[in-house]
Symmetry: C3
Subunit: 647 residues, 3 copies
């Protein structure tokens, strides 16, 4: 299994490199990611290319058994580029242009930037295409982050995009709706960008989000094609920025990679990121796995770096790359801590790196041949996220919050899931949860219908099926095209300033459905059965949760927001309804994960508590290292046990 | 009585119009407001006018007994206008120009915008001047909202305004005071606009507020004059934006209407808006009465739409226009809910519309002939609001907060009042409350003095009479020109970080004056008697409230902020002092309102509680619908009872 | 002793001046500060100078025994200057240029502004150089406040500054570190300014802070040299803005004054300001001593104006100038209250002014010959403040908060101290406290080492010695160059989300060290002894406070943040360790200060409580006014007693 660190030889005196390489090798490190911010070191003045230092670094590392993932570096041009080509600067929504000296201060639409970018990318790819110590490519870094631009070039490109997509302004006006506040285009060139003092037109804003995502994905395409042409045997990856960011549809950009990658800095990054970026593809490379703490926060306490890293593996990681080997002594991220401290002296995190390195040497390869066996899918729609951000609504009713709530609760129940785009094939799953699926087009509704008709259980939440792909509200009751499936109709809804008590209806389940929060749809059942109703207030007796038989499957609809114990009870019931089992029953504080391969299964037991924990197992599990039968097993505080069995 | 809805035929397929018209007719609707954002539909390309669709809508509605209030639409130009005439864009205080696609993104000073505006307005007015189904005009929408502009054209106009008002810079420097921080003009052209990193010169800021208000009022003048010229029989209205907004002096803009109109979205809009926009004129058209909830908020619960609407009537409304018939399926306000839901299916709010429609058919005309019989006036000064906003002070010491506190407490006591400009005739009132009358010119002080000399009771609050009409502090003690009337002088004052206990002085009243908050004047009595004094701290023994005999009347001065029970006790005492009675004693949760006409009086009893309430009355009241004698009466939860008697 | 007020004759009718002068004289006032915002009155149009009015004011005041400190006035140009020379406007970090009508809206780098500034300054200085009633100069007002500028002129000057300092970009890249996010300069002209959407490069940001401070100091140099040339007998001062501001290194700007001055508005300004601006120089002029309250706040309660003023004297003031005689009736600071109220009638604060005036007439001269006898120094580094502001870190871990915490606690213990630059001579002190000494250059570390080797006790706090003078992190463990002295090494650290209990280690002291907050270094002792360790959590047993013998002295290191009782206990122990005594043991609410001269000592006892207090003394103290023996003495609420003894 790939086991590496982010390394920046350009920050350190060359005499230090050998020390670093030796320490890495001793810790079991077998790879490094290098180069993503090295443009200024590779081309310090226009046309003066200097690869010698990086060549020496690659070679030295290879001499220590460490292969390189080489990054292109065009997203962060050096000062000389901005001084000579100021037109490449990014323009923010407030119309101030960026100042260089930061990251990602460029305009992706700029033809000048594109040319500059392709020139340096080509230089890097051509230089290392035949270097056997370079095993893979990493396209730039966090593509799209901080890059949404509102300059005139972007506006022109956006007009071109609209013209190609809609053909005529009449068509656009028809799709978007017209004449609200006198907004109707008479020419594509009139389309404004979604900036200014107030909320923009929701259709315009959604389309601009799509356009920006497309630009960012496009930015990854050119180097991908060059890499595959010049070095077809090297694989290509790039690092998405966890589940939080929504500047780019990672599934769209993912087309221009061979292996999905992501950053993972718990607790900033939640485990949802791991299931989302891995999703239905079954594998994921963690390109920035947390080691030390980000500047402003609590220290990485002893044990946690390794525990978090093992959790990534348990979630399906096919490789880990810690960010980073050693923190820079200068620059804006000088306090983003690393494996080594500023002094470069191996300390407690180096020991954890080494311990896990030794462990992976034994069982990493076997683990790599397995994947998490998810029977639950969580579908998350970028278009719903973009569409909802573009309208005025209760801010806590967004897609990500709902998804995180559900994901967290399922994690507590040790249920394995894939998170993914709602247009992906769902046939392998028993249960699909669609948190806040606000925006629904034909492909999405057909896909969900196919899934339910085939016998699946689908769970929808409030505000599902509200708008079409143009962010226009359906003129049918909610959930729009999904209402037949759900067996309900909704015309009225609103925020709940205070929670309302719930009661179970008809004994559908015995769980502890305590209260509804934040939101209440006024559900009219047209075929569904109530599962829970409001127990008080003017909504007393109105269904809050319903279930409907449809085809060979079922659709559950939650017309409010459930949290805490209520959400847990609901999800337990939902899993039973879909016949989905937990990986294992474990004591509180312990988490259980499974990975399965053709020949072997692994059980990962992680103890997130500060006390030893005991777990009972059936008799077929053996310790993955010692191969001794293992039940019951003890897990030390903040420790992990890996068990295995033949499939 | 006018009973209507805001309707946007341009948002719906023409085949739907007939459905809507029929539903409206069945609900008793007799009017619609149309057209205020229809520029893009009326002139989709420059010079291409299309009135045919709107003509058809007017006619169809008329066929269903529904007359039209036609709006001009120039405040929201379509994209083609901005594309061709970008110089009309509004410039915010941060000097960013507006982007179109929103509302009100224009500069009212721009001669280009004025010409464009008058061209479309003339087209509308000429087209409908002779249409008998159009009964009235509505000048644009929320004139002045979001429109304060800081562009160079505005600056030039402001210089012209200053030159005309002051004649010479020497005069201006004399009136404003000079040389503070070296600020003294040597030429009108040097006058800056009140923008930038810090607070502007208070005199400059007040004068710019006056200038902006004047521009906005002026914007209403031109169409008014055209309308009256081309269609003298149609009345003209426009919608002010409740009591909250202060961009425009509604009494100044009101000159260019025949009937004052306002928006009313409880709880955002408080009842103060109703008494303020109606004020001494006795009548008011509610042009946007809340139906469904604004996007981000709690649902309009069953019963409330009608209850709120009746409350507007009880406050003196001469007509209601619900906002709006049906929410748009797109655009920034797509979640501003309406009578119908997005699906267009009549639901619970339609039933309320219909119920009230039937009620008004019976008694609406008789109610329209009556007015609220206020013996209390609350004078609110725009200049005080502008003047206070321009200085650094305790933010909760503003005019509006003080006015709302007093108004709320009087409403709880079922006291009827008019809110109005302090320069209006006060002779008909027994009690005048002047919340935070910070800025006082000769007209205001003479008016108040005349009122008190004539026997009235005037109540002043802290910081009254602090500055003159140029926002310059009087060099006499506070309350400046009002201090003889008040019989007090104040040199010292300050914020109260913690409340202070009060005690009643000399048994002037027996109420429960508990505590003073936020502020304390150090009152020196020069003729007044203390009514309450501070009971603790370094101010112990200092008067907090005083009363002074002046002429045939009295002046009460409150040198602190009273709230809650203390404020209620104080206002009870104040009403007794002025011999002002409550409409009726009613149980908590019930509100009582009266309207009087030449021949008949109406008593409105509104039950805002969720329990039935019983109210005792004298024997002369009869149910307004059944004419049965009515005492005692029962009122259902969230219901209204209207009673009548001959005068 | 100088005893004066800020006076603005340009704001008042000339007939009032005589009233004011008489009132001042009767109150014992012997000086005024005038003219700092009078440019518009002195030169109302370009080239038209009018000194006549100011000449008359100076003379009238002199006739009443009142001398003038004359200010230059170039920092606030009148409107005509901006109208004619708009290029002098300040450009903020968001690239908006300032609007005039405020204070300090200029660019100090602008050659045009420099010329204009020097022209008016020269006019003022030449005009009053020979006026014997003008005893001193005051260079402008609050130099540097609100003035940091990011215009192209500044950028050019900054490039020049960098070129002169670093010689070559290679050297700069070496000192700052290069290639982080591809940041490496190929030419000085590429250096950006530290503005934009995110945090700037820390080295760039620190250097720009230095550059701005230098510009501001430079701005004070030219008038100083002119003043000393034209009037060598007049002393020069200017008002720093207390301890809070960090735009300018006051010690650097102080070179261009003869007497340091400051503003002091308690409670906004803490006593730290008094010890800091006085520092090792032993004397300080309070140029703006609080009289009335700033607009937005609580009144100055009776007694406090005089009590605060005496506290300034007790801290070593060599003169007081109250801000201000009377509040302006207009302008942005109209509600910054004064000795007189707006009405100009003498009130309670005038009586306090007069009482203190009479007291100082008796003993002011004798007091002026004495100084606070500090044996403790607190060193505060501007470079540490600038360096820390430029990085992302826990915001409460700044220099000023730590300094204020320590200073407040020492004040409660009546310990006298000087606050100063860490490069100043420390040999006279027994104890040096260095709060958050983040940035350390050779001069600082050598100075501290010399101090400790000589027998002093040095107290360092967390994050000391982290970065070098280029804001580059040391590649050695913390505290970098101070670690040998401290006998410790630190590689790991982080924020503490919750406080941790401490326990004393080895009985080093018996105080009540309760808890650690906010931050924890993981201290490795290399020679030091633990003084306190963490009592719980994963840090249990790790030292939190250490002490190390070094040379003839000791270094104490605090690897966390101590507050409240814990901090008090720690500082008591620290003073005992350094053999530093409190001025006197006094009851709670009373504060004791000492000043010593060659012949006499003064003891100031200030009662900040609302009850009388009794203090026991040894027998040699006498009442400074009556010369009666004084022990025990009673102090009335909010009163002060001054005692004296022969030295």
């Amino acid at each position: 299994m790939y086991y590496g660190v982010a390394y920046y030889p350009e920050h350190w005196p060359e005499e230090r490199w050998a020390v670093d390489a030796k320490l890495m090798q001793e810790a079991g490190v077998n790879g490094v990611r290098m180069g993503e911010f090295a443009w200024s070191a590779l081309e310090p003045r226009e046309g003066e290319y200097r690869f010698d230092w990086l060549d020496r670094a690659v070679e030295l590392l290879a001499d220590h058994g460490i292969k390189t993932i080489m990054c292109t570096c065009s997203r962060t041009p050096p000062p000389w580029v901005f001084a000579k080509y100021p037109e490449i600067r990014n323009t923010a929504a407030d119309r101030l242009t960026s100042n260089y000296g930061h990251r990602y201060t460029v305009c992706h639409s700029s033809p000048v930037f594109r040319e500059l970018s392709q020139r340096i990318d080509r230089a890097v790819v051509e230089h290392y295409a035949d270097n056997e110590n370079v095993i893979a490519w990493h396209t730039d870094n966090e593509i799209g982050a901080g890059n949404t631009c509102y300059c005139d070039v972007c506006r022109g490109e956006f007009h071109k995009y609209l013209r190609e997509k809609y053909g005529s302004v009449e068509n656009l006006n028809e799709r978007w709706g017209a004449h609200f506040w006198s907004f109707a285009l008479s020419d594509f060139a009139e389309a404004p960008l979604p900036v200014g003092v107030a909320t923009a037109n929701p259709s315009l804003a959604l389309e601009y989000s799509r356009f920006v995502s497309k630009c960012n994905a496009e930015f990854a395409r050119w180097p991908y094609e060059l890499m595959k042409k010049l070095s077809p045997d090297k694989w290509v990856t790039t690092n998405f920025q966890t589940e939080r960011t929504d500047h780019t549809d990672i599934f769209e950009m993912g087309e221009w990679t061979d292996v999905y990658g992501t950053n993972f800095y718990p607790p900033m990054g939640t485990e949802l990121a791991l299931d989302y970026c891995r999703g239905s593809r079954g594998k994921l490379l963690i390109l920035e796995q947390r080691s030390g703490q980000p500047h402003w926060s609590e220290a990485t306490k002893p044990g946690w770096m390794r525990l978090w890293a093992w959790r990534s593996v348990a979630h399906g990681a096919c490789g880990l790359n810690f960010f980073r080997w050693r923190p820079c002594l200068w620059g804006q991220e000088e306090y983003w801590h690393a494996v080594l401290p500023h002094s470069g002296r191996p300390g407690r995190r180096y020991e954890e790196l080494k311990r896990m390195g030794e462990e992976l040497k034994q069982i990493g390869e076997a683990i790599e041949a397995t994947r998490p066996p998810a029977r639950v899918a969580m579908v998350m729609s970028y278009e719903s996220r973009w569409a909802l951000k573009a309208v005025l609504t209760e801010p806590r009713m967004d897609v990500l919050s709902e998804a995180r709530r559900c994901h967290d609760a399922l994690m507590q129940q040790n249920v394995c899931l894939d998170a993914m785009d709602p247009r992906e094939d769902l046939s392998r799953y028993a249960l699909v949860i669609a948190p806040r699926l606000y925006c629904v087009d034909d492909r999405v509704s057909d896909n969900l219908q196919r899934f339910v008709e085939g016998g699946g259980v689908l769970c929808l939440t409030a505000r599902s099926g509200a708008v079409d792909e143009y962010n226009k509200i359906f003129s049918q009751p909610s959930p729009g095209p999904l209402r037949d499936m759900a067996g309900i109709e909704i015309d009225e809804y609103g925020a709940l300033p205070e929670p309302l008590l719930l009661c179970n209806e008809g004994g559908e389940f015995e769980g502890n459905l305590k209260q509804a929060e934040l939101w209440a749809d006024e559900i009219i059942v047209t075929g569904a059965r109530p599962v829970a109703t409001y127990a008080e207030g003017w909504l007393a007796g109105t269904p809050a949760v319903t279930v409907n038989e449809f085809g060979r499957g079922k659709v559950v609809y939650v017309g409010t927001v459930l949290t805490g114990e209520t959400l847990e009870a609901f999800l337990e019931w939902l899993c039973r309804l879909a016949d989905v089992a937990s990986v294992l029953d474990v004591p509180p504080g312990v988490r259980a994960f499974e990975r399965r391969g053709d020949r072997q299964r692994f059980l990962f037991l992680l103890n997130f508590s500060e006390a030893s924990q005991s777990v009972a197992l059936d008799e077929n599990w053996r310790d993955a290292f010692t191969r001794e039968p293992a039940t019951p097993i003890e897990i030390s505080p903040l420790d992990v046990r890996v068990l295995a069995r033949e499939e």
